[in-house]
């Protein structure tokens, strides 16, 4: 049972005994659960908001602390987080560690030390990832050499850094596989065992060099569906599984006329996808070239197979990041970094449902539940 439909209790009356004070628990994870990461513009510490979008409202379930530019990964069982801190505020000894938090109490259930490998960039959702079965965490390393760190979450220990060529992002697939995207335009399939030994294989080159792919693609761990827009609004898609990558026909979201009218995608996390409805959501606006990271005011929805334009949602605010919940009545979640507000919209009707302000310093990435 769920008490959300009831108006907020206004003034509880009567004597409350001290032992009635308690620490709240967030409700169990459901499809409307999502996380918003606020790195506070490269701040040394960050905050992650645990939220819900039930009943066409917005719920704030709690906060999780993090270090500089953390990676947050959601699973039904826990919230995984890879952190970096320094022992003298912004310099001195660096410490990287992984924490798993219970999704209801938000307490840390595991704290695993890892070598100082994390690739520190402005927040990118997919430069670290849980494995498909939530047993491993994979963390990308950039310097001093390219690699992927393997963390065994069940044994709570760090296994090894697996060397990989010059590739980026981590997309896990079943049977201890993951894919990365390499600068030559192909994907790299890596199969690893429990000791961190790996076998690697490249797919075909699926996009041209001047088709620049955005930093934050959509990827579903469970479905292996990868949806990846270019700066111009062309969408590359693939289905990734242990047997390899199956590329779908690329989709042009905008017609030539729209392109002439300067329509193009833009924002920090500009794409979302609804698996069951097979719908692509792209954050877009009329914009000058090279403004691919500035906020946009519209979401264009297209069919995931044919690319047919289904509808356009006017968000009426300058939005940096979007995500869509995976349930039957999907909610479109939108974040405005500048105004520090989270909005929700009916992903189908396009109506704004709710908003919550005072979201810290810079709410930047939205992580939704995949399963």
């Amino acid at each position: 049972e769920d008490q959300k439909a009831v108006p907020k209790q206004l003034a509880a009356v009567g004597s409350l005994k001290i032992d009635n004070l308690s620490v709240a628990k967030a409700p169990p994870v459901d499809a409307k659960r999502f996380y918003v990461i606020d790195p506070g513009h490269f701040n040394m510490t960050s905050q992650t908001y645990v939220m819900g979008a039930n009943d066409n409202k917005l719920q704030m379930h709690g906060l999780i602390d993090g270090g500089k530019l953390p990676h947050v990964m959601s699973s039904p069982k826990f919230v995984g987080m890879a952190n970096t801190t320094y022992d003298r505020i912004a310099h001195g000894k660096r410490d990287d560690y992984v924490r798993l938090h219970d999704p209801q109490t938000l307490e840390a259930v595991a704290d695993i030390d890892i070598p100082e490998i994390r690739f520190l960039t402005g927040l990118m959702e997919r430069t670290a990832s849980l494995s498909v079965d939530d047993k491993y965490m994979l963390i990308q390393q950039f310097s001093p050499s390219s690699g992927v760190g393997l963390v065994d979450l069940e044994a709570k220990k760090y296994v090894k850094t697996m060397p990989v060529p010059d590739c980026y992002h981590v997309f896990p697939a079943a049977k201890q596989n993951f894919f990365m995207h390499c600068r030559d335009g192909s994907l790299l399939q890596v199969t690893y065992d429990n000791q961190g030994n790996s076998k690697q294989k490249n797919t075909k080159v699926f996009h041209a060099e001047n088709e620049y792919l955005h930093n934050n693609p959509y990827y579903s761990n469970s479905a292996g569906r990868l949806v990846w827009p270019t700066y111009e609004g062309k969408i590359f898609q693939a289905k990734l599984s242990d047997s390899g990558a199956e590329f779908l026909k690329p989709i042009e979201i905008f017609t030539d006329k729209e392109k002439k009218d300067k329509w193009g995608p833009g924002g920090w996390q500009p794409i979302a996808f609804h698996k069951e409805r097979n719908e692509i959501y792209l954050l877009a606006d009329q914009r000058a070239k090279w403004t691919h990271k500035l906020p946009s005011r519209f979401v264009v929805v297209a069919d995931g197979t044919t690319g047919k334009r289904l509808r356009r949602i006017d968000l009426k605010h300058a939005i940096d990041s979007i995500a869509v919940t995976q349930d039957k009545n999907p909610t479109l979640i939108a974040a405005s970094i500048e105004h520090k507000i989270i909005y929700t919209f009916d992903a189908i009707g396009g109506k704004q449902l709710a908003s919550m302000d005072e979201m810290g310093k810079a709410p930047q990435i939205i992580v939704t539940m995949d399963k």
């Binding site: 004597s15 308690s22 620490v23 709240a24 628990k25 606020d38 906060l63 109490t105 005072e358």
Partner: protein, 189 residues
């Protein structure tokens, strides 16, 4: 009046000094510096109302917290600083960050100490006692920060001071302030 006032305060100072000195020279003084310093201190009122005087208790909730105008408590939006229960909060409201009016957000922990104020509920016209408590062990919450210094005393009166991070001795090293809850503990009748 004025004479009287000066006389009063002279007497008071004398009394306090005497207490202090005898205290430190007396048998108890030998128990140790720590005790001697605090054992003979005047005992402290439980809540601010006692000090504000009952007449002022009501005022606590309507007293202006800005220089310009007073503030009228409301009973509609528990996440606003002027909700009646928050009449003496100085910090963030937990209800905005995953807790409720009476429980800490998940993952934080209750501080063992609290401070008390009496607030007037415009909805039912009653005045209640609220025992504010800090939730600790996380960075300061981002939402709903309120600042209210009504009846707040200097740091040398720590039990009424707003500036102290009250998360001492909370469990598992949770020693940083996250937010505040406003549970009702009784009626102030």
């Amino acid at each position: 009046m004025k004479e009287n006032k000066r006389f009063d305060s002279t007497i008071e100072k004398l009394a306090r000094t005497t207490a202090n000195y005898t205290g430190r020279r007396s048998f108890i003084g030998k128990v140790g510096m720590l005790l001697a310093g605090s054992a003979l201190l005047p005992l402290l009122p439980v809540d601010r109302r006692a000090r504000l005087g009952l007449g002022e208790a009501q005022a606590a909730s309507v007293n202006s917290m800005t220089r310009e105008r007073g503030w009228v408590p409301q009973d509609k939006d528990p996440q606003a600083c002027d909700y009646w229960r928050h009449c003496s909060i100085d910090g963030q409201i937990c209800d905005c960050s995953g807790g409720s009016l009476t429980s800490c957000p998940p993952g934080s922990s209750l501080s063992p100490s609290s401070w008390v104020a009496s607030c007037f509920n415009p909805g039912d016209g009653q005045t209640y006692l609220i025992a504010y408590r800090d939730c600790c062990g996380k960075q300061t919450a981002t939402r709903c920060g309120c600042f209210n210094t009504h009846g707040e005393l200097p740091v040398y009166r720590p039990e009424f001071n707003n500036d102290i991070v009250w998360c001492f001795g909370a469990e598992n090293d949770d020693m940083t302030y996250h937010c505040t809850i406003s549970p009702v503990v009784g009626k102030a009748s």
